[in-house]
């Protein structure tokens, strides 16, 4: 009798797991290509082709090799970092709306980098090293506060985490405003541009800051896939499956902070990538299975930020909109749409 009910009720789940990977993988070259061609100086595919063979004019060559290509790579790397950071935080908080900017990690890193830019000028010569270190330190301070204030009976309480994070974000943003008002005009402009989330002026220098960190952090993050799936079953069941729940939460928090902080140290306060990439990946893979969802999230991150940056460069004729503002403009409605979605997962059995 049960077998009959089975046949009627349970259609096979439509699975687009391949689409989750294939769509961004197909869009990525397109985005990168348009990112190279579009901008203040329009470049034709022909000129790009010449550039590849070294026969283009020095001017075009400079724009492609020294300006647009590194900028796109920086955008892709930062996007990947922010996307995976969001995925980790969502797994940690059991909340699809968590993201490094929502939890105050962006603001903590931002504040710290602001302190670095305005009070540690003697370290500026070596900012390849120091800027991510300061961002990381700020992110860690923020995460430490988050951890201390969200504990309940000695354990991390995922629900408190969101509320405390919003509080911290507001606090650090306020501190940044206070600091900004006391700054010289010149450095303030620099900081303000960085805060808005800007990829302007990205060069191979920033690529060199980013890639070693991501080379280390991305595999570590991917290795958490099964632990994240187990954690998704709820803390008691996760513990019964042999997961050290509290330790895993701290591990995810640290990974999220590190991924967000390195990205932020370069691209500034770009919000919503960490929110949107895991969610689009979830939609397209139609699964919460992290072995499929994490790679898709990673790809969407590498896609979304270069796309946002390219969009910001090509909309009006000669002004640039910072990538952070483009993502905010596009993602804020998406965020509101998510908020209005009826709660689907996370029910009790």
């Amino acid at each position: 009798m049960i077998a009959k009910v089975t046949v009627i009720n349970c259609r096979r789940r439509p699975r687009f797991d391949k689409a989750g990977i294939l769509i961004p993988a197909a869009l990525l070259p397109l985005t990168l290509l348009s990112g190279l061609l579009v901008g203040y100086t329009g470049i034709s595919p022909r000129q790009l082709w010449d550039c590849l063979w070294g026969t283009a004019s020095p001017e075009i060559s400079l724009i492609i090799w020294q300006i647009r290509l590194p900028r796109l790579i920086v955008a892709a790397l930062c996007g990947a970092g922010l996307a995976l950071s969001g995925a980790a935080l969502q797994a940690l908080t059991h909340n699809p709306l968590a993201d490094p900017s929502v939890l105050g990690i962006n603001a903590g890193s931002g504040f710290s980098v602001m302190v670095y830019l305005s009070y540690f000028s003697f370290l500026h010569l070596n900012s390849l090293f120091w800027q991510p270190v300061f961002a990381l330190a700020g992110g860690l301070v923020s995460a430490g506060l988050l951890w201390l204030l969200s504990r309940h009976h000695g354990r991390l309480d995922p629900r408190l985490l969101i509320l405390v994070g919003i509080g911290l974000a507001a606090f650090f943003s306020a501190l940044m405003l206070v600091m900004g008002s006391n700054m010289e005009n010149n450095s303030y402009q620099m900081v303000a541009r960085w805060l808005a989330g800007n990829l302007w002026g990205s060069s191979w220098y920033q690529v060199r800051i980013l890639w070693p960190w991501l080379l280390l952090l991305v595999p570590l993050m991917f290795a958490q896939n099964m632990a994240m799936d187990v954690l998704n079953l709820g803390a008691p069941q996760a513990q019964a499956l042999g997961l050290a729940v509290n330790r895993e939460r701290i591990r995810l928090l640290l990974l999220a902070v590190a991924l967000a902080a390195v990205s932020i140290s370069v691209c500034g306060g770009i919000a919503f990538i960490g929110l949107a990439a895991p969610h689009i990946a979830r939609r397209l893979t139609a699964t919460t299975w992290q072995a499929q969802r994490l790679p898709a999230t990673f790809l969407w991150g590498t896609l979304l930020l270069p796309a946002a940056d390219t969009l910001g460069r090509c909309l009006p004729r000669d002004i640039e909109i910072p990538a952070g503002i483009v993502t905010a403009l596009l993602a804020a409605p998406y965020f509101l749409y998510l908020l209005r979605q009826p709660e689907k997962s996370g029910g009790k059995k």
């Binding site: 290795a223 079953l233 019964a240 499956l241 042999g242 919460t288 689907k344 997962s345 059995k349």
Partner: protein, 269 residues
């Protein structure tokens, strides 16, 4: 699946929350290879006992021994290879297929930076087969009926390949047909592979019908324990639940059945 029969016991066990002991000085032995049902009123400590024995909750005194080893000295993963527990309050992950959920039962065996091995895959298939879910392996959990879903959770616990299986109220939220289906499945698993099962059950009659042993808890103490058929008496029901009942043999199966009543319910004819 043949497994070594697991021996679990505790001595002078106390547990609960700081300043409020739920269990006090409990000494008991879980009969190996059998099904034990924990019964008792709300707040009598059934769930706490189950979670404490599974090391999900810290003890405040006494020790728990699993196959002669102190359970507090076992690493979580090592313990999860010997004892599986299905708590009552797990998240229902939509967006996972049945097979994916079941494969999480292999987590305690997994090494970092490596996927599921061929061994893991065959254990998963076997667990699906044992619970009759092979046909539904690719179905999303969100599309399952309550009974099928509970079977999927049980399959996940089976994939842990443990000698002990703990369940906290495995029949909650299920209708009567699915309740019986799940309990029959558990008995089948116990008979086929000698897995020791300990479960918290609310329904006394189901507890008697589907368990070999009963442990009756009353305010953190063991009121009585023993073979299910013998243990269920009107005196036990009155002492443990504070209600009156008659206990009769079931007309078809002969298993004792408890019929509770309140004095004013007697109808005059």
């Amino acid at each position: 699946m043949t497994l070594t029969v697991s021996q679990l016991s505790c001595t002078h066990l106390s547990a609960g929350y700081p300043g409020q002991a739920v269990l006090e000085d409990l000494t008991l032995n879980i009969p190996a290879g059998q099904i034990t049902a924990l019964i008792g009123a709300n707040g009598s400590g059934k769930s706490t006992l189950l979670k404490t024995l599974a090391a999900l909750q810290p003890t405040q005194g006494g020790s728990i021994y699993l196959n002669g080893r102190d359970i507090s000295r076992l690493a979580p993963r090592a313990l999860a290879r010997q004892l599986a527990l299905l708590p009552q309050d797990s998240n229902n992950p939509e967006g996972l297929s049945v097979r994916e959920l079941v494969s999480l039962g292999r987590f305690p065996y997994r090494r970092h930076f490596s996927g599921l091995s061929a061994d893991d895959q065959s254990v998963i298939t076997l667990s699906l087969q044992q619970t009759g879910l092979l046909d539904l392996a690719q179905t999303d959990l969100g599309r399952l009926s309550g009974g099928q879903r509970q079977r999927a959770w049980i399959a996940m616990a089976l994939a842990q390949q443990t000698g002990l299986l703990f369940l906290d109220e495995p029949t909650t939220y299920l209708d009567i047909a699915h309740q019986l289906e799940v309990l029959q499945l558990l008995r089948q698993i116990n008979r086929d592979s000698r897995v020791t099962i300990v479960m918290v059950l609310h329904d006394l009659n189901q507890a008697v019908q589907f368990s070999d042993q009963l442990i009756a808890l009353k305010s953190g103490h063991v009121y009585d324990s023993g073979p299910s058929y013998k243990l269920l008496t009107p005196e036990l029901v009155r002492a443990v639940f504070g209600i009156k009942a008659v206990v009769l043999p079931h007309p078809v199966t002969g298993v004792p059945v408890c019929l509770p009543y309140a004095p004013q319910e007697t109808v005059q004819t």
